[in-house]
């Protein structure tokens, strides 16, 4: 068993929090894992990426090699396409459909959706589900919930680490994020039937 997941988004979209839950649940479930992230200059509104590798065998490279990612998780649709060459042929793009527009040449959303759909992909509105759960800031947890359908870790275990992540911010915040996780999980599990 190995899962190589490339997470792509924009600085400030909560990729590090998402990776925190993945790392800790992978470790507790007894898997090997490695996870890279971006700090410094690139964070200032630029595109950021995190490579998460989970396996039952020793992992050597911190970076996912080209053509080996099983899943690209897009926090935002444009970024979900930036690293498609990391994806194994037939690999999955799982992405939020809500764009984050802070550049002038941002493509038409229809163009992006068409391009994403040309791959094996799941495109859904994580932002809307996050709002319904209680805050737009929980969209990373919606996406994590969606991703949980493809991971070897138990969902209960992942939720334990979501709780851990937000514990210091109070019960209300924990509740919202768990709700976001669940709704992401459900939204995509229905989709699973048709890909």
């Amino acid at each position: 068993m190995k899962k190589d997941i490339l997470i792509a988004g924009v600085g400030g979209q909560g990729i590090l929090s998402l990776a925190y839950v993945l790392d800790n649940s992978a470790l507790e479930a007894g898997f090997y894992f490695k996870q890279t992230e971006v700090h410094g200059m690139a964070q200032r509104g630029g595109g950021v990426v995190s490579h998460v590798r989970i396996s039952d065998q020793k992992i050597h490279s911190d970076m996912i090699p080209t053509g080996k990612a099983d899943i690209i998780l897009g926090i935002e649709p444009l970024e979900s396409l930036r690293y498609v060459d990391y994806l194994v042929p037939g690999g999955l793009i799982l992405t939020n459909s809500q764009p984050f527009i802070n550049i002038s040449q941002y493509p038409e959303i229809e163009t992006l959706e068409k391009a994403i759909k040309s791959y094996r992909s799941i495109l859904f509105d994580a932002t809307k589900l996050a709002k319904e759960a209680g805050t737009i800031y929980a969209e990373n947890m919606v996406l994590l919930g969606a991703l949980s359908n493809f991971l070897p870790m138990d969902k209960g275990l992942m939720k334990k680490w979501v709780k851990e992540l937000f514990a210091s911010k109070g019960e209300k915040i924990v509740e919202i994020n768990i709700k976001a996780f669940d709704s992401g999980c459900q939204a995509v599990s229905l989709d699973l039937l048709c890909i």
Binding site: G11, K58, M63, L78, V84, P89
Partner: protein, 536 residues
Amino acid sequence: MKKEIFMGDEAVAMGAIHAGIRSACGYPGTPSTEIFEYIMRYVENHKAPIHALWSSNEKVAYEESLGASYAGARSIVTMKHVGLNVAADPFMNSAITGVNGGMVLAVADDPGMHSSQNEQDSRYYAHFAYILCLEPHDQQEAYNMTREAYTLSERFEIPVMLRLVTRLAHSRSSVIIKEPLPQSVLPVSDKRSQWVLLPVNARQRYARLLAVQKEIASYCEESPFNNLEITENKKIGVIASGIAYNYIMEYFQEKGEALSVLKIGTYPLPEAKIRKLFESVERVFVLEEGYPFIEEKLRGILPHSYNIQGRLDRTLPRDGELTPELIRLAFGEKPKEHEKLPDIVIPPRPPALCKGCPHGDLYNALNEAMKSHKDGRVFSDIGCYTLGALPPYNAITTCVDMGASISMAKGACDCGVNPSVAVIGDSTFAHSGMTPLLGAVRENSNIKVIILDNATVAMTGGQATMCTGENMDKLILGMGVDPAHYRILSPLPKNLQENTDIILQEMQYQGLSVLVCRRECIQTGKKKIKSKSEKE
């Protein structure tokens, strides 16, 4: 056996804490910043008796760390690769003085220049100073090596360098941690002949440094960090150091077979192990992140019969970061099949100044003022404001190194550039902007120094700054800047006209003007509000 999740940087921090450090010094710089931040958090959470506050620059940090070592304590000093240029003077001389308490310099290189002006390789510095350098390949080794580095530093009485690269510094994995060592403090040194580097002492100390090289070399020969595995394949062998070792192991895992590999984790290099590898195979691939340091050592100038492949013969690219794919290709594999990139254009999303950033307001005013001064130039510096080089601002004409804005502006002004404007942040000013400003005061140089006082080290994540607000005013006026040409600007969109006018007025003045642009960084401002509301 306790397993914890650490970034490479954090594993170094934990290794140092567990080795019993009493002092941590450093200046923020990607990708090294998180080493120090981890220690600071640890000190706060555990009320640990470790002195850990940021220094004004890397040279100061290095000297503070050396002072801690002199006092008998174990200490760590952290910086990025270009920071070591700033600290090069004490660094080189600390090899001559040697140490008392164990001292580790953790320096993080940035191959590929993710967040830097160059990709210089710190291993050359270690060689230059004739000190020991350790290079971990993963988080576990980063922890183990840092702990071990203190023993080695005290054994050889030299500072030890721990070299990291971005990919390890910023990658997380689980690390097994060992029992922490107690803080053991040696007596304060009183060996004046060791520490007073008058030529008469320095010659003896240098001879001592040369003499200890033999012991260091024999340690490197035996060190478990240099591991040689010989396999059946007699054709090809590999020397791989640091993170490059991970990529070759990844390739072997995919291939299902391994070649003979010498993993390098220490410098100087283990010569006997290298000879043994070369005797076992016909050809050796040298894989290393950064400059071809090992490869240059192996090749020399005169021809020899060994067959070496690496960055120098372009088996691998001469510059930039290695990747697992580049290693595969070097071994003659076909490019790995992967999904094709889409046929639509994916526009780049470069970093940009945050929405509402005070620097943006300053650049808007400065651009307005410069419209009537087409021959003028804007010398900038290292920080978020360097992003003023990009659209929509395109406001700066140079950015070279910490503090260079003021000195370059003065040098250019001395040779006729007018207006000659310097743009520098508060932290960079404290780092190395004060000294060039003193020179400009003495000559009353016709330069316009704009200090962006956002009260933080913003680019590296909002560390505390050394000198801001009123303290800065007192400092600058105390240096002798004419109060009539010391102007405070409030960078807000509504003040665009007023700020433009002030800049234009000062450009009319033929002498030194300092304009302080004062507004808190919106990121640190937001953080304060957030942590306040969380507490309530």
